[in-house]
């Protein structure tokens, strides 16, 4: 899918803001407990409190910024896990073919046969809902999709004349695979999938935090538990729910727009 540069630019703004928020949050020390102040509960926006306060009097702006810590770091870990599993296996299968390819694809099919959300919940039930467990499980559950994509790309290119040419010129298999096939031909494909995984992880984390029991627990903020905590509180500041909801929606939308911009002709 091709998109106009201006829409890609607009799409990149929310994910970029999220990364900035993550940086700010990591560098500052907003105290989620000390911020509780029932005397200012449900205040509307003001210069000092741009998004007002929630029903416990906490600053919605700072909680929204701090909530980026709940998913950005783990999402990057999930991307690293998916990258580390899927690219070597997909490349090995696509470049060597034969029995190796059948074995790797079978492994991918087995993992992919379990819905991602179920696989992540299963891992959290067994190993606890630590962010690292969540990230690893999400990355592993996404790996078959990325691995199959890398496999399909390399399978199509393996027999290409320019690959044979590279061998005839004396280039090593490692160089042909790493430089000509993976770096030149697959980097956009991999980048696109990792952005999808980033968006998927945001939805996963906020959903689990919204449901409760898994994910981020109060008083630590997540856009999911911010929504759940404020939802149904009558007469309260509407921005306390609208801001995290909009943050989720815009970040996922922006991530998908940027990911789609990386698609190449013929990609589905």
């Amino acid at each position: 899918m091709s998109r106009r540069p201006e829409s890609v630019f607009l799409g990149a703004i929310p994910p970029a803001l999220v990364l900035c928020a993550w940086g700010v949050s990591v560098l500052t020390d907003y105290d989620v407990v000390a911020d509780v102040d029932p005397s200012r509960a449900g205040l509307g926006p003001s210069p000092a409190l741009p998004f007002g306060t929630d029903h416990m009097g906490r600053d919605v702006f700072w909680r929204t910024v701090t909530a980026s810590e709940a998913f950005v770091g783990p999402a990057l870990v999930a991307c690293a896990v998916a990258l580390a599993i899927a690219v070597p296996l997909g490349a090995l299968a696509g470049y060597s073919g034969g029995t190796t390819a059948r074995a790797v694809r079978y492994l991918f099919d087995v993992v992919a046969s379990v819905p991602r959300f179920v696989l992540v919940l299963l891992a959290c039930m067994i190993y606890g809902s630590d962010p690292l467990v969540l990230a690893t499980a999400a990355g592993a559950s996404y790996a078959p999709g990325l691995g199959q994509a890398v496999y399909a790309r390399l399978e199509a290119l393996r027999g290409a004349e320019f690959v044979l040419a590279a061998r005839a010129h004396g280039l090593s298999d490692a160089r042909i695979l790493g430089r000509h096939l993976l770096w030149v031909n697959c980097r956009r494909l991999v980048g696109r999938h990792l952005l999808y995984l980033f968006g998927f992880f945001l939805i996963l984390e906020t959903t689990l935090s919204y449901i409760g029991g898994f994910g981020i627990e109060e008083p630590q903020p997540s856009w999911g538990n911010m929504l759940a905590f404020e939802f149904g509180q009558h007469g309260m500041n509407p921005l306390a729910t609208l801001v995290p909801a909009a943050a989720i929606w815009l970040t996922v939308l922006g991530t998908v727009i940027v990911a789609d911009a990386l698609a190449e002709p013929g990609d589905v």
Binding site: E161, F162, A165, A168, H169, L171
Partner: protein
């Protein structure tokens, strides 16, 4: 040091299941010599050329015979290696370094996502690796090899992608790539097929210029028109077997039925419309 640099294959046999694609083929190309391998499509010409570089990937027993490459003090005989890894390592010493390959489909032979300059640079860098001796031929820059391949202004070509090249330009770029590691031999696999006559002339002139630089060439073609102009020796293949051998200058005296048939077809085409 050997008497002369040469590449040779002895008793090459290539099988695919029950079918024998190349049978008991032996040939030798000396430095500065052009040997033409002539035959119809499917007669085993390309398989023979690719066997020199170990590019015919097949199960053990499918490819039999011995390849010998002797250049300077180096003597490489990959098929004497019993271990697969050692054999691959021996072929690695040959590929691009001692023997270059010039394909028919030059555009497909180039990486579509890299500029020509970058592709030649990469191969040149392979030649430089592990040696600080500036006199190694491969250590000269991409411009040198592109100029040698017939580009009078290589600076114009280095920033182009393969899809921006004509067929003749792509073929010249492939000549530069085949020689960029300083190889002394060239396997030219139908380099003029599909090119218009003017461009064919240019490529043939280039091949003859390489011969003058003492590069040995195995010239594969099905077009006898070009053979008598360039070849020192002509080997005619039919269904994977050598059926005729003669000196390039004595083409007119060739009597074998297969050669005569190829010659007649060529004469009819060059003589006018069918």
């Amino acid at each position: 040091m050997y008497d002369a640099d040469y590449i040779a294959v002895d008793s090459l046999t290539v099988r695919a299941g029950e079918a024998v694609l190349v049978q008991d083929l032996s040939l030798r190309v000396n430095a500065g010599e052009i040997v033409a391998l002539v035959g119809e499509s499917g007669s085993g010409k390309t398989l023979t050329a690719r066997s020199f570089l170990g590019l015919v990937r097949a199960r053990p027993g499918v490819v039999a015979g011995h390849v010998t490459v002797a250049v300077g003090t180096e003597l490489v005989r990959p098929h004497e290696c019993t271990d697969d890894g050692d054999r691959e390592a021996a072929f690695d010493r040959i590929r691009g370094r001692l023997v270059g390959y010039l394909p028919q489909d030059a555009l497909g032979w180039l990486d579509p996502l890299w500029t020509i300059g970058r592709q030649v640079d990469e191969v040149v860098a392979l030649a430089s690796r592990g040696s600080s001796d500036r006199s190694v031929p491969g250590q000269q820059g991409a411009f040198h090899w592109l100029r040698l391949a017939g580009f009078s202004r290589p600076e114009r070509i280095v920033s182009l992608y393969p899809h921006e090249l004509s067929g003749g330009m792509a073929q010249r770029a492939c000549i530069a790539l085949a020689l960029a590691r300083g190889s002394r031999f060239l396997l030219a696999d139908e380099p003029t097929t599909g090119l218009d006559p003017t461009v064919q002339q240019g490529i043939l002139r280039q091949v003859l210029a390489l011969k003058k630089r003492n590069i040995g060439i195995l010239f594969i073609t099905h077009d006898l028109r070009v053979v008598h102009r360039v070849a020192d020796e002509v080997i005619v293949l039919k269904d994977g077997q050598v059926v005729d051998r003669f000196a390039g200058s004595s083409l007119g005296d060739a009597r074998h039925p297969v050669t005569t048939r190829l010659l007649k077809a060529t004469v009819r085409i060059s003589g006018g419309p069918l």
